[in-house]
Symmetry: C2
């Protein structure tokens, strides 16, 4: 596990690839955008024109892409990973995508002798830069054992969840909880404001009790300061909740609260707030009630 | 502040009154149930027949009752606190009730020269027994200063929130967040189970990240163990959400998520689960989807 093909050098992928280079791995890199490819090449990576080329002569291929369609294209499409990778190469998709897409691609890859893991991350851009990502892994347990050290070059933890797709199921569960916890504090703080009670005092009074949460601690001060600079964008959280709803449809879970949360994100995106941090969800409740939590 | 009238010796009130006795306060006590009155009398408290009698010859009157109607009856009704208390006595209602009821009673009490504070608590029965309650106080700031030491005999913190009613607004905000955080993990874990992913592994994988919360840490192990022994009962949480919805109606906040949460509690109570711990909310999502999070 010395040579890695890395496809997708965006906000997350670029710093993750740099951490692999720093750790001494040989890298072949590819992106639709030439700028980060040149950036990585200047640090010693080999630039490649296609996913197929990136997957040649490597031990591991990592993909870090926006959503299921992009990963399908890069893995299964013409000039894709499965055209270039030799049997035995391990494919690790670290994108946050639909679990069903992970399972389908893992089956297609397995038919070519290529174990494919779904290994989405949490921790955002700071986690990618500082190699403190939390990595949730689904797929073949033996393949996971072989790449675990490599994954820990990019993160602080790499937890094996279960069979193919379960890494992304875990990520969706995480995103449901985070969205609903942001909504919980938003609904509570705006009720306080409507009832002439200072949300900042409420926060200080309740954060140490059962209502306390990492979301409350991280997002309340940003809400009070009207700081909605991402962080994690509402439009990305919308994508995750869309994948959660699709997974609910496929498995028979109506996800009533996630549905309502999704509608709120859609409304905020329609109003041009899609690039705000997801803490900006509070703005929906403020518009609904005519108060702010400042 | 040496002599206290204590009205309402239930699951919460009885241990709170005992902590006052232990701290050396003289107590006059009253309850509709003779058993806890006799219990406290055996420890040195003076039993009283009515709230009026309990409020005579004391510095402070504390009420700890189920909901707004009981407090109104005890404070404003015949043989009530306002008939017995001399001007200058401080009335501290530690029940969790509707903020609007707190405000109305505080006005009626003020007309008789009696400052009334709303001082609901969180921490449940263990907090009442161990004197570790978190006390949220609304009302006259001078009256609060006078009774703060007395309140800290029963709790670990007593935070001044603002004007009359704001103690209960803070408590409602707390209860909204707790209910929605329980629902968040319930919806996420049942989705994981539907998608063939072990909720226990999901919990371990995500609890350290942004999705982590005191609710997740406290309730997940109980959900996995099918332990729904209260704790805090669903029927009591229903009462708090009803007061939150009424406060929303009165102030113009539609509280869309709290509404949906309230409906779920109503359904669980109709199914005979009202006396389960509120962690048992997960059973609604299990019935909805046909899986358990065991």
């Amino acid at each position: 596990m010395k040579t890695v093909g890395f496809i997708g050098l965006g906000i997350m992928g670029r710093p993750m690839a740099k951490n692999l280079l720093k750790a001494g791995y040989s890298l072949r890199v590819c992106d639709v955008n030439p700028e980060p490819v040149a950036d990585l090449a200047a640090l010693g990576a080999t630039p490649c024109a296609t996913p197929r080329e990136t997957a040649q002569s490597v031990d591991v291929v990592i993909t870090m892409l926006p959503n299921s369609p992009e990963v399908r294209q890069v893995v299964l499409g013409p000039d894709g990973v499965l055209e270039g990778a030799a049997p035995g190469v391990i494919l690790v998709d670290m994108s946050s995508i639909a679990p069903e897409a992970s399972r389908e691609m893992a089956e297609a890859a397995a038919r070519k002798g290529i174990p494919m893991l779904d290994a989405p991350v949490s921790g955002g851009e700071p986690g990618a830069i500082n190699a403190t990502l939390a990595i949730m892994v689904g797929g073949d347990a033996e393949a996971f054992a072989k790449v675990k050290d490599l994954l820990l070059t990019m993160g602080k933890s790499a937890v094996y969840i279960g069979g193919s797709g379960s890494g992304n199921v875990c990520k969706l569960a995480n995103q449901i909880v985070v969205a609903l916890n942001i909504i919980a504090v938003s609904e509570a703080y705006t009720l306080a404001a409507k009832a002439n009670t200072d949300p900042k005092v409420v926060f200080e009074a309740i954060k140490g009790g059962l209502a306390g949460s990492n979301v409350m601690n991280a997002k309340s001060p940003l809400m009070f300061a009207r700081n909605f600079k991402p962080g994690f964008r509402i439009e990305l959280h919308r994508k995750d909740l869309r994948n959660a709803l699709d997974t609910g449809d496929a498995t028979g879970h109506p996800l009533p609260f996630t549905h309502l949360a999704f509608d709120i994100l859609e409304k905020l995106i329609a109003e041009g707030k899609g690039k705000d941090d997801h803490g900006g969800i509070v703005q929906y409740f403020e518009a609904l009630t005519g108060v702010t939590v400042e």
